[in-house]
């Protein structure tokens, strides 16, 4: 069964989404991440979507859910690398992902997580 790989880097978990995800795969990722946050006692999750040229409401909600669940488990989440076309489309769709911190790229995202600049 295909899964999206989750990388552990110190206390951070890094997820790079590179495939055109179907809904089941997205649900699996959500479950896997939640499990790993607990298992690895992660303090931060970085989701890299720079390779995604499409984010629809399902994926959007998945990202919201991941951030919410991570928060409950005392971990911060940063979403990085959103492409301009995707950002414009998401906003038009009405999904602003307010509960998720964002950064331009992986480097900035990691800096944010390490500094722990979250309220």
């Amino acid at each position: 069964m295909e899964r999206i790989p989750i990388l552990k880097m110190g206390q951070l978990l890094l997820v790079t989404i590179q495939v055109d995800m179907h809904d089941r795969l997205a649900m699996t990722l959500q479950d896997d991440l939640t499990t790993r946050i607990v298992k690895d006692r992660a303090k931060g999750v970085l989701i890299d979507i720079s390779a995604l040229d499409l984010v629809d409401s399902f994926i959007g909600r998945m990202i919201n859910n991941i951030a919410a669940m991570a928060k409950i488990l005392d971990a911060d989440t940063v979403l990085v690398g959103m492409q301009p076309a995707v950002a414009i489309t998401l906003v038009e769709l009405g999904l602003t992902l307010e509960g998720v911190k964002t950064a331009l790229n992986v480097e900035r995202g990691m800096t944010m997580l390490k500094l722990g600049s979250f309220s």
Binding site: M82, P84, T96, R108
Partner: protein, 285 residues
């Protein structure tokens, strides 16, 4: 079963050379622009069109120019019209390309069927009808091409009027002048986001000093832009809020809680610098 259009098609194909010469003479005299390049192009277009009409008439079995048999001919006329639009010809000049073929053609029909007036009349009427339709189609294509050119120009104008300026390493400024409608917002978002990617800026100052009115729609467009920039990791500061606009925003109940707002671009720039981690030091004179 005799093909109603095949005879005309035969005539065209048989006498193609002569017809072309007669037609071109009329075209060139009507156009009145003496320019070797234009003449060569005209020759090519006329030659292609004539042979295409000939073969289509012979094979088509109908003079219904909307049918799929006439697809290639329509395509050619569409291309020629678009070409004429680009070169600045009028719609009449463009339509005359087709209409001026009627005369040499009907002359030939008269010669071919001089002994059979009844058939001659039928054929001439059919020819007129066909070329009128083709001519009108050409005018329609011309108008559509014109509209497209105008729309493209409008788009380019929109893009030119929304420049995104890099004020500092991490700071962009977007001075908006004029109304912010939905089309403009699209262009603004695209420019801003692309600039964020290009410069890696994390702060964007949207200055609305030049925006005359802010109603619910404009406010929504602004908030959309702010939301889109945020998704890419950049925070927005809205500056240039005049007192009247502040009142309107409060009255409309627009929620600007998550957005930093400043009265002037200068104030916004200071805040931006601080957020970007810069400090301004006054040098002793």
């Amino acid at each position: 079963m005799r093909n109603e259009t095949s005879r005309l098609g035969d005539i065209i194909i048989e006498h193609q050379e002569k017809l072309l010469e007669g037609w071109l003479a009329s075209l060139i005299s009507r156009i009145g622009r003496r320019d070797a390049h234009a003449e060569t192009e005209l020759r090519q277009q006329a030659s292609r069109f004539l042979s295409l009409v000939g073969t289509t008439l012979r094979n088509a079995g109908s003079a219904d120019i909307d049918s799929s048999a006439w697809q290639e001919a329509r395509q050619l006329l569409g291309d020629i019209s678009a070409n004429r639009v680009r070169q600045g010809y009028s719609s009449i000049e463009t339509a005359n390309f087709v209409f001026s073929l009627k005369e040499p053609l009907t002359s030939y029909l008269q010669t071919e069927m001089s002994g059979d007036p009844a058939t001659l009349v039928t054929e001439i009427m059919a020819t007129n009808s066909l070329f009128d339709k083709l001519g009108l189609f050409t005018v329609e294509s011309y108008q559509k091409s014109r509209e497209q050119v105008i729309m493209r120009q409008q788009q380019e104008l929109l893009e030119l009027s929304t420049p995104v300026v890099q004020l500092w390493k991490d700071v962009l400024a977007l001075p908006l002048i004029g109304t912010l409608d939905s089309a403009r917002t699209q262009v603004v978002m695209e420019s801003l986001l692309q600039k964020i990617v290009d410069t890696g800026a994390s702060i964007a100052i949207i200055d609305i000093t030049g925006v005359p009115t802010v109603d619910t729609l404009v406010a929504q467009h602004l908030l959309k832009t702010v939301a889109a920039a945020r998704l890419m990791g950049a925070d927005c500061i809205i500056s240039g809020i005049r007192p009247q606009i502040a009142q309107t925003i409060v009255h409309l109940g627009v929620n600007l809680e998550d957005v930093i707002t400043k009265a002037t671009l200068a104030d916004a720039f200071l805040v931006a610098l601080q957020r970007a981690g810069s400090v301004i030091v006054q040098k002793d004179r």
